[in-house]
Amino acid sequence: MARRLAGFLVLLLVVSICEAAFLFQPISDSHRSAALELFTPDHGSFKSLEETYEALRTFQILGIEKKPDLTATACRSISETVGSSSSTAKDLFYALKANSIAECKIDKKASKGIISRLNASVSGASSLLDFYYSVGGLVLIKDQSSEADVHLADAEGVFRSVKAFSQSDGRWRYSSNNPESSAFAAGIALETLAGIVSLASSEIDQSLISTLKNDIIKLFDSIEKYDDGALYFDDKLVDGHEYQGPLSTTSSVLRGLTAFAAVTAENLNLPGDKMLGLAKFFLGICVPGDAKDFFNQIDSLACLESNRVSIPLILSFPSTVLSLTRKDSLKVGVSTVLGSEVPSLTVKLVGAFSSGSKDASLVESQELNFDKASGLYILNGLPKSIDVGSYTFVFEVVLHEPEHEEVYFMGSQTKVPISVTGLIKVENSEIAVLDSDLGSIESQKKLDLAGKNAISLSANHLQKLRLSFQLTTPHGRSFKPHQAFLKLRHESKVEHIFVVGNSGKQFEIVLNFLGLVEKFFYLSGKYDMELTIGDAAMENSLLVAIGHIELDLPEAPEKAPRPPPQPVDPYSRYGPKAEITHIFRAPEKRPPQELSLAFLGLTILPLLGFLIGLLRLGVNLKNFPTKPVPATFAVLFHVGIGAVLLLYVFFWVKLDLFQTLKLLGFLGVFLVFVGHRILSHLAAASAKLKSA
């Protein structure tokens, strides 16, 4: 876990270093440590022989020591695959590939078996991949076993059958059924054809090889380009399964190309800048994060390192930022893509141009000195014409031996952006308050912009403020920095920023307060002054507080714009807000309790009056039925009415309407029944009385 983290940090560091476009670093130790991180086997062995081969090959190219336990497990799986009769051509192919690095012994019987199986596979092959694995396997076993007699019976026939998959645009199909073609398949086909040529017992017809050369040229017509000069191959994304991605495709084509170039004596007529472009593509990836991508990159760079077409050479720069103060010298390294040595050559600085200007070169063409100790070419001392700023340096590499020009390719001219930094002298800085009309100086103070300042000035709106200073480069030229600002900040945190203009070396700004009154929002008071001078090429950029000025501005008229609200402390935005007190409606004034009780008593009075009146009228209960049945009904009738009234009282006090209605339903039915009985009885009684 800690190792993984360390490896990840290494990758991160390398990726951050590798961001410079136009600058390609050859393979270095960062790659080696990344390789060790990426190619870690699970429990000692990799998932497949293909991965084992990729790991072994990467370690071999990078010069990492072979781990004995890794080799042992590799050998075990190789012998297992080789001995098993159910291994396919693909398994045998990768087993033999891994074995070419692991160098385990395969016994004679096993190798004989392999050869016969692969031969059968070749004759029975129908798709490009079948041919690839079987022919590739045969090539490998030829090198590894003691059997001298490994060759293809009908090499030309096999050649033609593989060639049949080719297309007119230089791409190859995978099989006769599948119409889709790709550059990746082209690379595989070229490797296979190279293998066929090397295994052929007799010479293959030269016309076939010439047509193949034309196919390669056509394939290179479809090469794609990045802005920094990198060249690569990419297939159209048709089917997700088959799509390999530019890295895999380009490395497959490169492998095929270099394999084919190795077996033919003919010149492929491929311009060297194509190989340089491919080298830029692979180096531009820096350190890939995936094991397969890493293998593709390293394997392709190994192909570029030693191939028969042309070997690209790279210029590398330990640092592209030079400091005049430290008296840095420009150092250049020349190497192959894997960082190996190159034959003797000269590196010339052909020109230096200021960025963004098309003027003539600032330096003359000169050679760099070779330093044996570091292996770098050094330009001792930058010429006086190179001052602080950013430039484009143009280099040219010339090989000493003319025959090396056939083998190596350097590119015509390499343009590199170089930054030169230095200390800028800030001199003659002073600040003054001037009277507007006459231009006479009211107060003037000298500033020390390198140190502390606590100038205190005062001015009113009729005066002007003038700040001036001089900037000079180390070589005495005028310098215009990216940033030259004067900031005035009011006590209420309202800020105003002004750009300091220049003419040559002299920088000056004049603030005429009469015209600035409205811009300052009519705010009088103390303004802090701050000066900023900054540039990427300036080693002593400064942000210095000059002091403060008391400004007396007139009163703001009514329609004057208010100053914008200043940003509040960001944390207060998330702090607690002001508490909201909900204002409830004031409760109604209630009458005093005694008054209410008095009137309650008064309301009872009429009832009493009613009862007394009833008594005075001589009310009696003579008509109350005496017989028991009617009497019960009469009683129940009155009880029922009383019950309903009691229910109403409960309704007011406690119950809700639904409960009341429910109970009322029961009581009502009862009351109606009882009432009907008694009243009909009474009616019958009075009718009898009337008739009687």
């Binding site: 109604e588 009458p591 008054l595 009429p606 009228l617 009415i641 109403y648 009432g675 009243l679 009075s686």
Partner: protein, 117 residues
């Protein structure tokens, strides 16, 4: 007759005749009249109270007053129906009118109680 009666004497005479006529009404009608008087009186007291303290729980005031007024109205209806001299309701037995009176009163008071709040 040359004797001119003054207004005051007229009013007094009118009042006396009304009183004697009223004395002739049956007792049950007098009970009903007393009941109506009681209901109206209660309503008046409630209005006076409202006039004094303001109508804040207006629904309560309304239900109180309307209860009194409603029951008075129902009692008046009962009196009309029960009065033997009323030819219109000759065939209606008084018990039936009383049953209606009771039922209507109960419904009125249910509504009043709901509105009382």
């Amino acid at each position: 007759m040359g004797r001119t009666l003054s207004t005051k004497e007229d009013a007094g005479a009118l009042f006396h005749s009304l009183r004697s006529a009223y004395a002739a009404t049956p007792v049950n009608l007098k009970i009903i009249d007393l009941y109506v008087g009681f209901a109206i009186f209660t309503a008046l007291i409630q209005v006076v109270y409202m006039a004094m303290v303001g109508s804040f729980p207006f629904n309560s005031f309304l239900s109180g007053v309307l209860s009194c007024v409603g029951t008075a109205v129902l009692a008046v209806c009962l009196r009309i129906q029960v009065n033997k001299e009323n030819k219109e309701f000759k065939d209606l037995p008084p018990e039936r009118a009383f049953a209606d009176f009771v039922l209507c009163n109960l419904v009125l008071h249910l509504v009043i109680m709901n509105f009382l709040g």
